[in-house]
Symmetry: C2
């Protein structure tokens, strides 16, 4: 293989009760890579389309992830990367993670390394750290592996794939307001009430069980966040109205996607997800905020090859 | 039915990462009830065998649970109860819970109320509260329902049954030292590190997933308690040595059963559970502590009728 086209999807992290550890993968929205082998070694960004991001590989997430992989698995050839950003940075649906996982997936294929997706995660994590200044795998794991993933441990890395009920859909609304992950982190306190942490944990355990058994009612009852949402909601304009609109339209649950400002809802069935998205849209239309919405099944494939190119 | 014999099993609560919310049911150790209908209304304890407990129904757990049920579902007849305590109070394997669930199960059968086990739990909880001065369902739920149970919520009560891998066994050692639940609670702080609570939650989520998929390695990696064990371990003589002995004998994991002093280990296979129990026994034999041990499959039946008596 001389070149490869790869799709790296957006993802939703935290998922109400799963702060920092749970995430799921979206479909139809993500980053696209076209990467060609080059005679000259090293990583070279030919173009980043759709967003203004530095072409210096040490200064963008995909570059750092690629260099991390190449440090461990040196290559005689080099790589010329064209990245089409389908996800807006700072949206809260895993923009940096998509870039980090897409490039390591592509390089693994191009170099024929035969590494599993699980084995690729640590390299993607190095890229992700450039963006978030902290190691979190709750976006990179679902973006790469697909479905729902639980980060049991980062050191050593221990990621658990959780099954996806077939009728589960997501509706996501991204209000185009700026919200830095670092800001969203600063409102969280270092200590929490033990009682609240037990309640949060109970909901996570129940959500995991509900996903295993496709118990939509249990999933719905478990999508509760008592630790983070109360602190971050005030940072997101119209958050309460958006969440209420989703619930009024019979979403299973709704919450902040990642650190925000995107808001996600989980829904039973595509039609319900469409109605939930419409309900959330109406909130922002009346407020005058610019936004984009996504309706998506849970993407169980994760990052995929869209085309292999044998001859340049 | 004029009389009934019921077996109400012991149970292990907390289960490392599931403090206050997770529990599982033991087999072969528990309380036995023999309850006869009487012409005179009310609850009357004929005898409590095996332990010195008050016969006044308002002063023992089984009596309080029975009265809670009868308050909601009045009966023309009365009930004469003989309770054989197979579990020592203060052992940490759900002595009060077994008494609470056994009596409500028996009365439901005798009165032909047709309530489900889930519907019976709130009455058992009232009994349990007499013993622990707080509402916890992490012993009553597994003791009544069997298997592993997760308490997602107490108000409203929302209990999730988690599947039991068929080859999962428990080894439990009960050192005969006194340790009051209230004392064990007093060492816990009202606040915990948010980071630690996330790690604990990640382990719980992974444990729930491991139970669903019978992934013994994942169960093993998830049986970690970073919030409670460090604080309670010093209250239990030889705790570290007992846990290490269990792990040295290849237990999947080990921890404090309930509030202690019993120590439980989960094991793959009966032979391993026997070896683990033996390994823990040797620790206490060399220390001179008096103890009892139990080796048991996970009891998926919970509380059961052992005999129905049509004619007195």
């Amino acid at each position: 293989m001389e070149a490869i086209s790869v799709f790296a999807p957006a993802s939703v992290a935290n998922v109400s009760c799963g702060f920092d550890i749970l995430g799921f993968c979206l479909d139809g929205v993500g980053d696209e890579f076209y990467i060609e082998k080059t005679v000259e070694p090293g990583v070279h960004f030919k173009e980043i389309i759709g967003q203004k991001l530095p072409l210096d590989p040490q200064k963008n997430v995909a570059g750092v992830a690629a260099l991390a992989l190449l440090k461990q698995h040196p290559s005689d050839c080099g790589f010329a990367i064209t990245l089409t950003k389908g996800i807006k940075p700072g949206s809260g649906i895993g923009s940096s993670s998509a870039s980090a996982v897409g490039v390591v997936y592509a390089l693994n294929e191009l170099m024929g390394l035969g590494l599993s997706k699980m084995e690729l995660l640590p390299f993607a994590l190095e890229g992700e750290m450039l963006a978030s200044q902290a190691a979190h795998a709750d976006n990179i794991a679902p973006a790469l592996l697909g479905g729902f993933t639980l980060v049991r441990s980062l050191q050593p890395m221990d990621i658990v794939s959780i099954p996806t009920p077939s009728d589960l859909y997501a509706a996501v609304i991204h209000p185009l307001v700026e919200l830095k992950t670092a800001e969203a982190r600063s409102v969280l306190s270092a200590e929490v009430s033990f009682k609240d942490s037990i309640q949060q944990s109970a909901n996570l355990g129940a959500l995991i069980s509900g996903l295993h058994t496709a118990d939509y009612d249990l999933i719905s009852r478990s999508l509760v966040d008592i630790l983070v949402e109360p602190k971050r909601a005030p940072l997101i304009p119209n958050y309460s109205a958006l969440k209420q609109a989703a619930l009024n339209a019979n979403a299973l649950g709704a919450g902040i996607s990642g650190a925000g400002p995107s808001v996600f809802a989980l829904c039973k069935g595509k039609e319900n997800a469409k109605a939930v998205a419409q309900s959330m849209r109406e909130v922002l239309e009346s407020s005058g905020t610019i936004f984009e919405t996504f309706v998506s099944p849970i993407n169980t494939q994760g990052t995929t090859t869209t085309k292999s190119h044998e001859i340049l």
